[in-house]
């Protein structure tokens, strides 16, 4: 099952945790989850993909829209727990030029 399993605010960081295949449906769900907090003034979003070990370019493309939105708010998007193939895919697409990637959620929240 692919879904957002948790959305929480840790300090000023909106942490969105997922599970399963990062396809269009999950990309849209991440976007919708982030949207609520962005419209409330939050501009730092961390996506914890530790339990998502497969992605497609449609799901990843939706994250580009999220980067764009956060840039408009002087904010940032980061990832943690990326499987090696997802990290490689994001690198090929250029997402890692605009988003930091951390090994763990704690590390990411502390750095953001």
């Amino acid at each position: 099952m692919n879904k957002v399993t948790n959305v929480e605010l840790i300090g000023e960081v909106v942490v969105i945790t997922t599970e399963g295949y990062l396809n269009k449906d999950l990309g849209d769900e991440i976007q919708n989850s982030a949207q609520e907090h962005i419209s409330n003034g939050k501009n730092k979003v961390l996506i914890n993909l530790e339990r998502s070990n497969i992605v497609n370019s449609i799901g990843a493309s939706i994250l580009i829209e999220l980067i764009e939105q956060l840039q408009e708010k002087d904010g940032s998007l980061a990832f943690c727990g990326l499987a090696p193939i997802i990290e490689k895919t994001f690198k090929i697409m250029g997402l890692t030029k605009y988003c930091e990637s951390f090994a763990t959620q704690d590390e990411a929240v502390a750095a953001m």
């Binding site: 295949y21 396809n23 497969i54 992605v55 497609n56 370019s57 449609i58 990843a60 493309s61 939706i62 580009i64 829209e65 980067i67 764009e68 840039q71 499987a83 090696p84 193939i85 490689k88 895919t89 090929i92 697409m93 250029g94 997402l95 030029k97 605009y98």
Partner: protein
């Protein structure tokens, strides 16, 4: 001479059916003793190839996937009976031009496939497209 082992899949055009192909790829890769890194690259390329065949080809029939197992490489063919495409019309996507512009954010599939596999070839006309991609057992695609 013995026939090379192969696995053939016929996928209906249904949501997330590309995952059937990646599960098969994982089993084939394990049989060939390919590294986890190469297995991930094959799965990712296969997902993108299937999405292209499912969505962009506008095919109404099934998509066929053949895995040809050889000692030193895995050859995968993804065949659709769709409308075909002209490779010269495929733009190389750049995130810089997609950000803060009206350009659609999608269109990464072919670039990803080419980056992740060792060899990629398309044969396409109005009767369909055959994508042939190869992952070598030893050489890297870097």
């Amino acid at each position: 001479m013995s026939k090379k082992p192969s696995v053939e899949l016929k996928l209906p055009i249904l949501k997330d059916m590309e995952l059937v192909a990646t599960q098969t790829a994982e089993i084939v890769a394990k049989h060939m003793d390919l590294s986890e890194e190469k297995t991930g690259e094959i799965s990712m390329a296969l997902i993108e190839a299937c999405i292209n065949a499912f969505e962009h080809s506008e095919s109404k029939s099934e998509v066929y996937i053949d895995f040809l197992i050889e000692e030193d490489q895995l050859t995968i063919k993804v065949i659709d009976k769709g409308k075909g495409f002209d490779q010269s019309n495929v733009k190389i996507p750049k995130i810089e031009s997609k950000l803060n512009s009206d350009e659609r954010k999608r269109g990464w599939g072919i670039m990803l496939i080419k980056e992740l596999m060792d060899s990629v070839d398309f044969e396409s006309d109005h009767t369909g497209t055959t994508l042939t991609m190869i992952k070598k057992k030893e050489a890297t695609n870097e």
